[in-house]
Symmetry: C2
Subunit: 359 residues, 2 copies
Amino acid sequence: MNVTGHTTRPASIRDVADAAGVSYQTVSRVINGHPSVRPATRDRVLTAIEELGFRRNATAHALASGRSRIVTVLTANTTHYGYASILQGIEEAARAASYAVGIGVLESAGEAAVKAEVQRASDAGGGLIVIAYDRAGVRALAAVPAGLPVVGVVETPASPPGGESPWVWADDRAAAHEATRHLLSLGHDTVHYVAIPSSTRRTSARTAGWRQALREAGAAEPRPLQGSWGPAGGYAAGRRLARDPAATAILCGNDDLALGVMRALHEAGRAIPDEVSVAGFDDSPLAAYLTPSLTTVRLDFTGLGRAAFGLLHGVLEESATVAPHPVSAPELVARESSGPRQHPPRHTPRQHPGAVPPT
Amino acid sequence: MNVTGHTTRPASIRDVADAAGVSYQTVSRVINGHPSVRPATRDRVLTAIEELGFRRNATAHALASGRSRIVTVLTANTTHYGYASILQGIEEAARAASYAVGIGVLESAGEAAVKAEVQRASDAGGGLIVIAYDRAGVRALAAVPAGLPVVGVVETPASPPGGESPWVWADDRAAAHEATRHLLSLGHDTVHYVAIPSSTRRTSARTAGWRQALREAGAAEPRPLQGSWGPAGGYAAGRRLARDPAATAILCGNDDLALGVMRALHEAGRAIPDEVSVAGFDDSPLAAYLTPSLTTVRLDFTGLGRAAFGLLHGVLEESATVAPHPVSAPELVARESSGPRQHPPRHTPRQHPGAVPPT
DNA sequence: CTGAAAGCGCTTACAG
DNA sequence: CTGAAAGCGCTTACAG
């Protein structure tokens, strides 16, 4: 829309140049903050830019300069709390740095599908951030062609990587360790674990942290139950655990899983925390408002997203000294769902009268 | 990465042309599916494309053709269930149509900030989808310059718009109406309402649907309580409603709000549903697993997102006949949190012994 | 400090 | 059916 109110082609640097009485190269210098422009000239150009409502064509800029100011986030999911919060953190940081953010969803973990998504993401130009908390993400990160700027948001690495690794992570291994210790400290003989889907065939960081805490305490190591990302998986696991009198403390790979576990325990007539303690992971917004409110470990996902962008930003603009972005350490938040072990455990779970399976 | 394994400049249409022994215009014709290319020529070009791993440079394509295959979603939020699900639906449909999706978050509803975000979003080229469920979104939709392809995801309009309006909506007015009728049908004298923040100064569609149902039933119309999007707002509202003996049925603008309301009622010792019935809105994944499980109205947010993209796609590519995408009608899901009115209501709420305010 | 030229990798008419 | 030219709106050396 120009001053006459008509919808026309947007103003180009040539239009600005004409209006300011300079060549378009000078306009280019002004919009790029090049120093060698006479102040008076600069002012005239700035005035013309203002009057014409000029905005640099990002596409032309990208093509000519070879740099895009775009970050594309590759992720298997955009709605679960952790993923969504990382995305939010990336977006915040990107917006502050005037980067556009694109998203590509990895719907399948199949080799071909992952490769196609990675290619699509690279087509956007700019850099990539891959959320590699699951199989699809891990594969996508591996499939990024050499030379393409990329940062991975990953689980805690098993061994400390070199200082140059383009990865960020929250210390979910330590978080799981801490949550497990919390439950053990309440007198439970051991802690059962309902896992989120693992990103690889190897043991996930959360599982490793849980296991380590059990070993340190000399506690039995029950088999982890495989969950999903949502409450349905927790519910299924919870039904099985409700039948196990030894399961007096349950750690869940995320809060949604914990919700499902609690529901299943409730239906089985197992009181929380009097008979069974439950802890989650993430401290999602719902955790504090559940009944009982959920003991969990807070993870700084938005900080993680900001850190990921910061790292990528530093790679993309070598000149810009991008300060490393701190990610808060995991923090245990003890609430009502965890409590002291009661002796002896009940061996005959009651059937709760009002139990109705969720629909 | 070329065949030699070295990181180099990606293959261009000229490289392909050289390899195939044709001019680069012919390559352009092949990748654009232009009909007038001899099959043998086409095959040679296709082979060269395959060998060189050629991918069309999207930036150059956009600049030369003037069309981007990008949809940018403008939204005040990316993490709440409704917003995130709409985004998910858009992304699915966009991916299927080989469109890139960008997101821009409206952090503030301030005039200048909104305008700046809209401009940033337009810079990406392509089309816009604006989620206009809140003040920032409504303003953004209004601030989109004429001529820019845009689709709004809006609340149910007060009056039926013309067939050409670039809007999509779920019938949240009807949904609120249905949920209210459900609660009234259980014998409650009236239904209190805890609202999500309204998008405009006018009455929101959900509020209107609730009010209409009350009027039709000749029920009293309590003042709606202003909530937020998250459980904290519901908790605050719930504390107030817990003190009101007339509040025996509460409809909440979304499920997170309902969670907070239920927590507050629990702390005040008000039994759900025996003393107070609660219903939510959206049927988020947690609703079925809460205790009590939450009565709510399911809204087809991903369908809404797909529909929004479909509409935009039709605008962007006039040739492509894009089938209108159906959005499922809202559906009441009755669960444990709503039940028959008990007579007479208790006038002296008990204090629940284990009540601990959420942290 | 400022301008003229070449080019980024494509597409779009225009010839033939 | 295929090729040569001009151009999309910028940036990047290169002159002056």
